[in-house]
Amino acid sequence: MKITYREALNQAMCEEMERDDRVFLMGEEVAEYNGAYKVSQGMLDKFGPKRVIDTPITELGFAGLGVGAAMTGLRPIIEFMTWNFAILALDQIVNAAAKMKYMSGGQYSVPMVFRGAGGSAARVGAQHSQSLENWLANVPGLKVVMPSNPADAKGLLKAAIRDNDTVVFIENEINYGDVGTVPDGEYIIPLGKADVKRVGNDVTIVAHSRMTGFALAAAEELAKQGIDAEVIDPRTIRPLDETTILRSVAKTNRVVTVEEGWRFAGIGAEISARIMEKGFDDLDAPVIRVTGKEVPMAYAANLEAMTLPSVADIVEAARVVCGRA
């Protein structure tokens, strides 16, 4: 069936809530407004106000509520309208949810999902356009998931809700309206598994979230120029499926990583380091990282466009890494 990314997320939540009455959804505007981005459309009607709950604008408080409820065995889905606002809740995510299992010597687990829109939206400026996955992926105890298309969104969110650990699930605001085919019936994608989105032999492009689409577009362009790119979407950032990436590098010997976020200690840095550690002999050229520019996001259209990676940037990087520039 062809549905949007937002509908896929909605289906995942509805199916899991039908299946397990410990699952509830809480966040700002999730109920009566049907979600700021309409991801929870119709869920209040379906499940009622006890399971689809509007909160005041108090991110730290309701994130902590989720942690506490999860410690008693409920399975909260805590929605952040966007991940920018989750910065207020980082104490509960990083200091509580991620560490509780360890700190309690295994007595308490925190089976919950923190989810919402991440990455850059269009023209919303510095405080509403940023990528925080590298912050979160740095934390042991968290699993970090970022779907790039509707099918992955559904399959991964269902897995995240069933997972017995805390899953940070970062959606992409610009992808919400994207349409894609999602398999009918129960569809679950295990966490921690990368997906080869395009098979190729000349260069491996690793990209996640919205950048996966950019990488695929770049691969089409590269094909016209005689470069056959393989595109890998890790889908789960932590734990990272390095096996799939290393297998591809063994074949192509050349790698470009792509991310919207800043370069410093970014996802590309982690991937490059792992390839250097475990696949050094497979490399014919240094890994090239395509990243967002290291500036806060400006509002002006021209500056915004300069800040974000483009398809052309990826094409250029692939040409350079293949010695074709």
Partner: protein
């Protein structure tokens, strides 16, 4: 108002005399904000403004009242619903419009957009996009005035939704503990996006939110600029006297949706009309001025035509500006950039 001014045409409002000049200023400023916001809405519709754009139609009396009750040296900061406040403060409207359009001459060089208006020359410190964020920042401005003993008051504005953030109460406590010169102003427009006040707040009388911190509260009609200005003066005097912070709840209403993308289906037409036609702050002051014989209906019609022209000229001047220079991408990240360190210009590789 001093005794000398207490002469000639004007309005005596609960013991305070407003002369004709002040009344015209307040009226014109409110009307300018209204027309400016309408223009911004139009420009958004034409896709000349992008992203999030939050208009303040209906809330003009709060913007103008705050400005008139304060000194230019007083500090002010607010949320993303900031156009009206910065305009009331006297910032260049062309620079504000250019900011909305993301142009070079924008008030923050096109870097901030609608949500991030700043004007240090007017002591206006944003323009903050994260709900509640400006409250601890305002605490810091107030602290600075206490530290320097500079006699300034900080006007720290938040929404009825924003007041629920935890950091607000941390700030209230410190402000009261150290008797900092701050007026916390809640613009209670009764909605936070689609959430009505009673669905988000256990205590809906927001002026009471400071009680457990011993912060006195005042609830003021924010649809009557004279009433609001007059009472706001007493709040300012309280903060300036060294007695500590005070909390003002301004009762107001936003006529438009939360932002340009919000159809506002969570409230009834009748409710909006009740405020819009029954309590409009511009119509109100016009009525008061006509009654006092200071202006006629025809004067106001003419004024409206003039202001519309002025706003159109502002929009035109802003639109004629180019986008920011590409080199601006790398400026303003640090005050003291370290040579060779990030951020650096450069190609992908």
């Amino acid at each position: 108002m001093s005794a000398e001014q207490n002469q000639g045409a004007g309005i005596m409002h609960d013991g305070v005399f407003y002369n004709a000049e002040t009344l015209h200023q307040m009226h014109d400023s409110m009307l300018f904000i209204r027309r400016f916001e309408e223009k911004a809405g139009q420009m958004y519709g034409l896709k000349k403004i992008g992203g999030f754009c939050h208009l303040c139609n209906g809330q003009e009396a709060v913007c103008v009242g705050l400005h008139h009750a304060s000194e230019p040296t007083d500090y002010m900061m607010t949320s993303y619903r900031d156009h009206g406040h910065i305009l009331a403060r006297g910032s260049d409207p062309t620079a504000v419009m250019a900011e909305l359009l993301g142009r070079k001459g924008g008030i923050v060089k096109g870097k901030g957009g609608s949500m991030h208006m700043f004007d240090i020359t007017k002591n206006f410190a944003g323009g903050n996009g994260i709900v509640g964020e400006q409250v601890p920042i305002g605490l810091g401005f107030g602290f600075s005035s206490w530290y320097r003993n500079d006699g300034r008051v900080t006007i720290c504005i938040m929404g009825d939704g924003g007041i629920n953030q935890g950091a607000v109460y941390e700030s209230f406590n410190m402000a009261a503990l150290w008797k900092l010169p701050i007026v916390f102003v809640v613009e209670n427009n009764q909605y936070a996006m689609g959430t009505s006040l009673d669905r988000a707040s256990a205590e809906t009388q927001l002026f009471k939110r400071g009680i457990s911190f011993k912060i006195p509260g005042m609830k003021i009609d924010g649809m009557d600029v004279l009433e609001f200005e007059r009472k706001m003066r007493t709040a300012m005097a309280h903060a300036r006297s060294g007695e500590g912070p005070i909390l003002v709840e301004a009762m107001t209403y936003r006529y438009r949706g939360h932002s340009m993308s919000d159809p506002a289906t969570y409230r009834s037409r009748a409710e909006v009309d009740e405020w819009r036609t029954g309590r409009d702050p511009i119509a109100r002051i016009q009525g008061q001025m006509i009654e006092a014989g200071i202006a006629t209906e025809e004067d106001f019609k003419q004024k409206d035509r003039d202001i519309k022209k002025e706003v159109a000229a502002v929009a035109k001047a802003a639109e004629e500006q180019p986008e920011p220079d590409a080199a601006e991408l790398w400026t303003d990240v640090y005050s003291d950039p370290i040579e060779g360190a990030y951020p650096y210009p450069g190609k992908v590789s």
